[in-house]
């Protein structure tokens, strides 16, 4: 790699919060920690984020190896290409999920060498003792990735946890189907406990699990309250930072460390709000990151938005929590059942709201809620070519948003003192690249699009001013 690029990489991205800037070291320590844990004889599990099994793994003292995280780290360090190429040489199509390709390329290399590949980012990804797949509505690769990895590690067993949730339908209420969904999810999670007991040779301590589930629920509530602080004008924290502060949420749920992290963040945001300290000095446009995983190698694009006076007080991506007390969870002391209800509650959280607005749909309803709560001027999405999970349906959501949200009038008081009414104009921008495949990214092209978008926002504002 050219010297100048190395320098660029070392230069740290500017974050608005201290909390976000502390994340890099945290992730590095966590990845290094898995390698160390392996040497200490602890059991390691390849795991996927957002699978409702965090507290179970923690209660069993199993060390999760978050394979999506490691691929993201390779991407952020702009060092994913050699692993992607290796996967491609194994006959995996480059059009597949690049997280998985990166992980498979890495695994194949590590297994071939019998040690970490040369200069593996942050010490490398440790060999697991078992792998926890997840069969959900969410993501095909979660069901296929580890099975493909087994080709290089035939001795490493898999447990596939089924985690469905019902899709939004006109003629069916969640209440009509939730009993058999919960029954199935509970059976799957109990199957996981049994699998882990067999693999680790120890019994689940259900009191401890209950404590961790309590802690997890408190953390959910705390994150929600903390993120809601970002409604403030100027906003004290943007999506660029949130792409860091998601780390304890999705990689450390059920740990005291995660809870403490959000306590600190909460305090930091409150202090900033008190001092009226925003992400940018002169906040001009408030944007919603309305969908899509970020390009991990190009998080500085958020700084570029900031340089134009645009901030992101809210995002749908990685906001994997809702306030527990609003999830309609029944009273139960069984921690496994609580995890199942939390799973179902989270994914169907917006269904009731959607039913109330004709033509709406849960994902669209969520966008509308955020647009109103956070006083949003425009929506930005990212379409990562290799990930169908998070990136199919986004265009339609924007179209539908335009269709059903337009009639909402905003009352204004004109300069002449007359009351007027105007329709919300909400420009949107879709960026196109990938999560970690840098070869599809063009900085010039991306920034041109951002410039054009900012000009549109300016024009919309000017039109409004002219009408007053």
């Amino acid at each position: 790699m050219a010297e100048e690029e190395k320098k660029q990489e070392r230069k740290k991205r500017r974050t608005a919060t201290e909390a976000a800037s502390s994340i890099g070291a945290m992730v590095k320590a966590a990845i290094g920690g898995t390698v160390k844990a392996k040497e200490e004889g602890k059991k390691l599990a390849y795991s996927f984020i957002v699978c409702s099994y965090d507290e179970i793994i923690r209660a069993m003292d199993v060390v999760p190896v978050w394979t999506e995280n490691y691929a993201g780290v390779c991407g952020a360090k702009r060092d994913a290409e050699r692993f992607l190429e290796r996967a491609e040489s194994q006959s995996f199509s480059r059009s597949l999920c690049t997280y998985a390709l990166c992980g498979l390329g890495f695994d194949q290399w590590r297994e071939e060498l019998g040690e970490m590949p040369p200069d593996a980012p942050w010490g490398g990804q440790a060999r697991p003792d078992f792998m926890l797949s997840s069969g959900q509505i969410l993501c095909d690769p979660r069901n296929k990735w580890y099975q493909a990895a087994q080709q290089y590690m035939p001795d490493v067993p898999i447990y596939d946890v089924g985690l469905p949730y019902p899709l939004y339908e006109d003629d069916i209420e969640v209440a009509d189907v939730q009993d058999y969904y919960i029954k199935y999810i509970v059976a799957e999670l109990r199957g996981l406990v049994k699998f882990l007991e067999e693999q680790t040779g120890k019994k689940m301590d259900y009191d401890r699990l209950s404590e961790l589930v309590d802690l997890g629920e408190r953390t959910w509530n705390l994150i929600w309250e903390t993120y809601e602080l970002r409604r403030a004008v100027p906003t004290p924290m943007g999506t660029g930072d949130a792409m860091n502060t998601m780390v304890p949420m999705v990689f450390m749920m059920g740990t005291q460390e995660a809870y403490d992290f959000y306590l600190d963040l909460n305090k930091e945001l409150k202090d900033k709000i008190a001092r009226k300290e925003g992400v940018v000095e002169d906040e001009k446009y408030r944007l919603l990151w309305g969908g899509g995983l970020p390009s991990w190698f190009a998080l500085t694009d958020f700084n570029y938005f900031n340089s134009k006076g645009a901030v992101f007080p809210v995002e749908t991506t990685y906001r994997m929590i809702e306030p527990i007390y609003r999830l309609n969870m029944p009273d139960t002391n069984d921690p496994i059942e609580r995890l199942a209800w939390r799973w179902l509650g989270y994914w169907t959280y917006w269904y009731d709201k959607a039913k109330k607005r004709p033509g709406s749909e849960p994902d669209v309803e969520r966008l509308i809620q955020y647009i109103e709560d956070y006083q949003i001027d425009g929506v930005v999405m990212h379409e990562a070519f290799s990930c169908r999970t998070w990136h199919l349906g986004l265009i339609w959501q924007l179209n539908q948003l335009r269709k059903i949200y337009k009639p909402i009038p905003v009352l204004i008081l004109g300069q002449d003192g007359k009351k007027g009414e105007e329709k919300r104009e909400l420009p949107s921008l879709i960026l196109e690249s990938d999560i970690i495949d840098i070869s599809t990214y063009s900085e010039v092209d991306t920034r041109n699009r951002i410039d054009a978008f900012i000009e549109t926002l300016e024009q919309v504002r000017k039109n409004k001013a002219d009408r007053r």
């Binding site: 099975q147 089924g162 033509g359 999970t389 199919l392 349906g393 339609w396």
Partner: protein, 386 residues
């Protein structure tokens, strides 16, 4: 080939070219047509409700245009084509759509389909990813939800006896499909791969009783064929996701091979498995659609963590078809952006290697315009295995 003189084959040809012609006629006669995607929707339940099931097909000769304004181009190109034709009104005789949880490409945009088409009925069937006691129980409940929902729409309570009757009709259809496949065992085969693809695709556009009649006519005529419609040539199996156009099979046959069997939808994967009879009909349907349809979207681990043995559990059916139909080579045909199949390519290749069956892996984009670029690869493969 005496296709021109054959009335039944020209009927097949007409139904293939004007796909949905019968459903459109039935709609005019006052019938209700329910469209669906993928092989995981139990057609038996739709038939039992007294409705006409109709499988949505893509078209490799129709460029994808209108669909792209509402569905991302990173979706599976086959699904994109299905969506494009639907929004262009090709299937405007349908009253409803049923989408199963096959893969991300059909599941994630469920709302996109539902709202864009704006049909009176829509339903999503959640298919679990594993085959186990709890998942089978869940899936049976999920099929029951579908049965009730569709019953409300059809204003008919779907009784067990209705289901049993439909199951018998579809099992009859599967027997006939099997008889058609048997005609391909001789060398040269008595039916070309291109003809077979047409017949099987057409079958998915008809009410099952009509499909049964058509297959019976085809069988009667083909068993009387004096000579094979094709010459002796390398015997090829096509393995892959969903092929609902003849163009690819025709390209292989034009390159000098006979396609004698497949491991595909529309093909052996969805046409051959029977539904068990005698027990609870819904349980039997759940068993067929979750366990018997061997699609990589469902995780299969039968040998308890032993990867090598799992290969046989996962792909054994491909191996036995290869043996039964005496294939000389396999063409593994996978669409770009197909995560369920894409992640299996090395494993499928390794499995076929272990059986000493030569395999050619091709990635394609579901477009007749560029399918020709595969010609050289196919010809080179045939030269290689000759």
């Amino acid at each position: 080939m005496n296709e021109q003189n054959s009335t039944v084959m020209s009927k097949v040809e007409r139904y293939y070219k004007d796909y949905g012609i019968r459903a459109r006629e039935l709609k005019k006669e006052g019938k209700t047509v329910i469209s669906y995607l993928c092989s995981l929707v139990p057609m038996e339940i739709i038939t039992a409700a007294g409705l006409v099931p109709f499988r949505i097909r893509g078209n490799v000769n129709e460029p994808i245009t209108k669909g792209d304004t509402n569905l991302e181009t990173i979706a599976c190109p086959f699904i994109r084509s299905c969506f494009d034709l639907s929004v262009k009104g090709w299937y405007d005789f349908c009253d409803g759509i049923v989408i199963p949880h096959g893969c991300d490409s059909m599941t994630r945009p469920y709302s996109t389909w539902r709202y864009t088409l704006g049909l009176p009925y829509s339903h999503f069937i959640n298919v679990p990813h594993t085959v186990s006691g709890p998942s089978m129980e869940f899936f049976t409940e999920e099929l029951n939800t579908f049965r009730k929902s569709l019953g409300r729409f059809a204003q008919k309570e779907i009784a067990d006896s209705d289901l049993i009757e439909a199951i018998d009709l579809y099992n009859e259809n599967r027997d006939k499909a099997k008889a058609l496949y048997d005609l391909r065992k001789s060398d040269p085969p008595l039916i070309s791969g291109t003809e077979m693809s047409k017949i099987l695709t057409v079958g998915m556009s008809l009410p099952v009783t009509e499909a049964n009649e058509l297959f019976a006519e085809v069988l009667e005529e083909l068993t009387q064929r004096k000579e094979a419609p094709v010459h002796k040539a390398p015997r090829i199996m096509v393995d892959g996701a969903c092929i609902d156009n003849i163009d690819f099979v025709k390209l292989i046959e034009d390159s000098g091979a006979n396609v004698v069997v497949d491991s595909l939808c529309i093909g052996t994967r969805d046409y051959l498995p029977h539904t068990d009879v005698g027990g609870d009909p819904l349980d039997a349907l759940a068993h067929r659609y979750l366990d018997k349809i061997n699609c990589p979207r469902t995780y299969r681990e039968k040998a308890e963590g032993a990867y090598e043995k799992d290969l046989t559990a996962r792909f054994g059916d491909i191996g036995s078809l290869g043996k039964e139909f005496k294939v000389d080579g396999v063409i593994l045909y996978v669409y770009k952006y197909c995560d369920p199949f894409g992640f299996e390519v090395p494993a499928r290749k390794a499995y076929l290697d272990s059986l000493n069956i030569p395999v050619l892996y091709l990635e394609d984009e579901y477009s007749a315009g560029i399918i020709g670029r595969l010609r050289t690869r196919i010809q080179a493969f045939l030269e290689m295995i000759e």
